[in-house]
Subunit: 396 residues, 2 copies
Amino acid sequence: MADLLEPDEALSRVLLAVPPPATVHLPPEDCLGLVLAEAVLACADLPPFDRAMMDGYAVRLVDAGRTVTALDEIAAGDGTSRGALQSGHAHPIMTGASVPAGAEAVVAIEQTTRVGDSVRLPERIRNGANIVPRASECAAGQPWAKAGEIVTPLTLAAALGVHTARLAVHQRPQVAVIATGDELAAAPSQAGQIRDTNGPMLVALLHEAGLAARRQVVGDNAEALLTSLRSLAALDAVVLTGGVSAGTHDEVPGVLSRLGAEVLFHKVAQRPGKPLLLARLGRQLIFALPGNPLAAHLCACRYVLPALRQLAALPHVPVRGRGTLVTALPSNTERTWFLPARVQAGSVMPLPPVSSADLVQPHQANAYIRLSPGAVALPAGTEVDYTRIGADAWAS
Amino acid sequence: MADLLEPDEALSRVLLAVPPPATVHLPPEDCLGLVLAEAVLACADLPPFDRAMMDGYAVRLVDAGRTVTALDEIAAGDGTSRGALQSGHAHPIMTGASVPAGAEAVVAIEQTTRVGDSVRLPERIRNGANIVPRASECAAGQPWAKAGEIVTPLTLAAALGVHTARLAVHQRPQVAVIATGDELAAAPSQAGQIRDTNGPMLVALLHEAGLAARRQVVGDNAEALLTSLRSLAALDAVVLTGGVSAGTHDEVPGVLSRLGAEVLFHKVAQRPGKPLLLARLGRQLIFALPGNPLAAHLCACRYVLPALRQLAALPHVPVRGRGTLVTALPSNTERTWFLPARVQAGSVMPLPPVSSADLVQPHQANAYIRLSPGAVALPAGTEVDYTRIGADAWAS
């Protein structure tokens, strides 16, 4: 086992190989889930004018308890310029509208009595009541969000509210998935052929991480793979599956060498996923995952997603927890074993595959249990540690 | 306050108004995150043939320790029909390939020595070694996934692996967002105009929930809103914002009445979000949210998303927790107050808005604190309950 990298060392090398996050400037609507690369300064006051907080009348304080004359109504979006409000008058005003100069409060419609053009105002009117003063939430030029914050639905709404045309954010990684193998077919027609399951699975894992990945299927053909990789050179990462074991048809290592990519490691002391390979070509990371679906899944969850999250400056440490085994865990051999499991309400149900290619048994996994080399069997009822997988599996 | 619905009663009425989830049949790739409406039966064996688990030689057990003759190689995807393997011979075979009849094990390439066409086999060969027997993971016609399961990346890969063309799943709700208000402008040019912030915010909240919503902006014009709603009649839900208070320009209640929609409630004893309205037209739910952005946010998180999740048969109870106040909480008046907060590592930081329309202060909220009517002020250091919001906020 001396030539195999330990899993923790492999993860360290993956994270070390990730280039610094790139910064792009995007409209706020396109920034959901991305990380702010710079503080955001308000380029306009918020609110941009003294804003009415409810439907009512814009009034002078001296008119409290009096009957005044109703002027024209001010609606939200009304841009008419008006003189300052004089005592003895009141403007009907709608929620969100701009309070006219001179008005010191907005009185709620329920607190008034109107007959024709006459409006009876309440006895007590608080100065500034129901008015949000211009710039009270944020003044133009002031920072209102910090670098490192993740853009939430409220953040993007706030950005639009303060008229921010673009936000400086860390780019969403651009990724392609290539499944390799002559046995892969869109609609298997002959014995020995199987459908590509890894491609859709990896695209789904990336989708859960907020990434839209392109997908290709390439046969065990070095030239085709080379052409494909060259066409994807501008992407941040390429995730290959299949073609990294020692078989004569496993073209990936040779193709990477012809491409000029630097292989950072190949083979990890883990089960499944031993043949994992990581290469780098300029800024691009190339992950070559085994063709075995569960191995591809483990490698994607454990290495690819943390790398892509780090590239987007997102937290990349998965949530860990401890729960009680519902069924026994077998003993382990000499390689670290990542065993799929379903965690629910403190219970941990191991979902060992029937074979290394089995997806049926583990298909509801939301965690992996890590078994150290030589770990002894554990009976049901034992407490074990687990690492969560899935869209909600990342510690903040 | 007698005419206002209590927030818990409002939520009950929302959930009661949700029709039963509809079932559709979709390709596995399109089912990520959806709930299975029926058990899934395998329509082919998995694996579909005795599959080699590694690169090596397909052999007879009687040849252990002998030197045998290498025949033609069997690659993954190779559909050549062959006679049964005879003693004295071995087929080189690749991972994932179909093991020929007669072969009782696959011996790893590292355990053999090859000179020309002669292959020396190891002394001990286990029966069935490195072969995954046909149908051992799942036999054709057998159920391998249950109704109610959420489709994971592994589920869809397993479905493709067992040649399932379509899965019966509960439909992803089809939703549109309509922001109403004459004050809304794409690029504000005159005083009193503001950008639509609610539309993009609601689209983002729905996106976090896995839903792609269409977005429209309609002025305070009953005819335009009516036309718009009629064109969206086929959708599961429409989320309106603005136009539900008592102002003369608030067209929504009148338009809903002309449309023939049944108003299930209007106004809730909560802050923010008092004007919330729920209507139903056939199967369609129509949520009319206040135009105030934070009110729209709270109503979307507390009422709209749980309804849409229930419609998709997904768990719809948000994660709740308890943490320590970092700063003091003010006392509350007579209406239930949902106060945005940021929860991190057991600490709860209230993020009260400067005004009811302020998004800047609360923009990093990932939770709401609920203050009961008349709740007293609480000093920093007090333990409080919170309800999480966001993509990872749903209990499973």
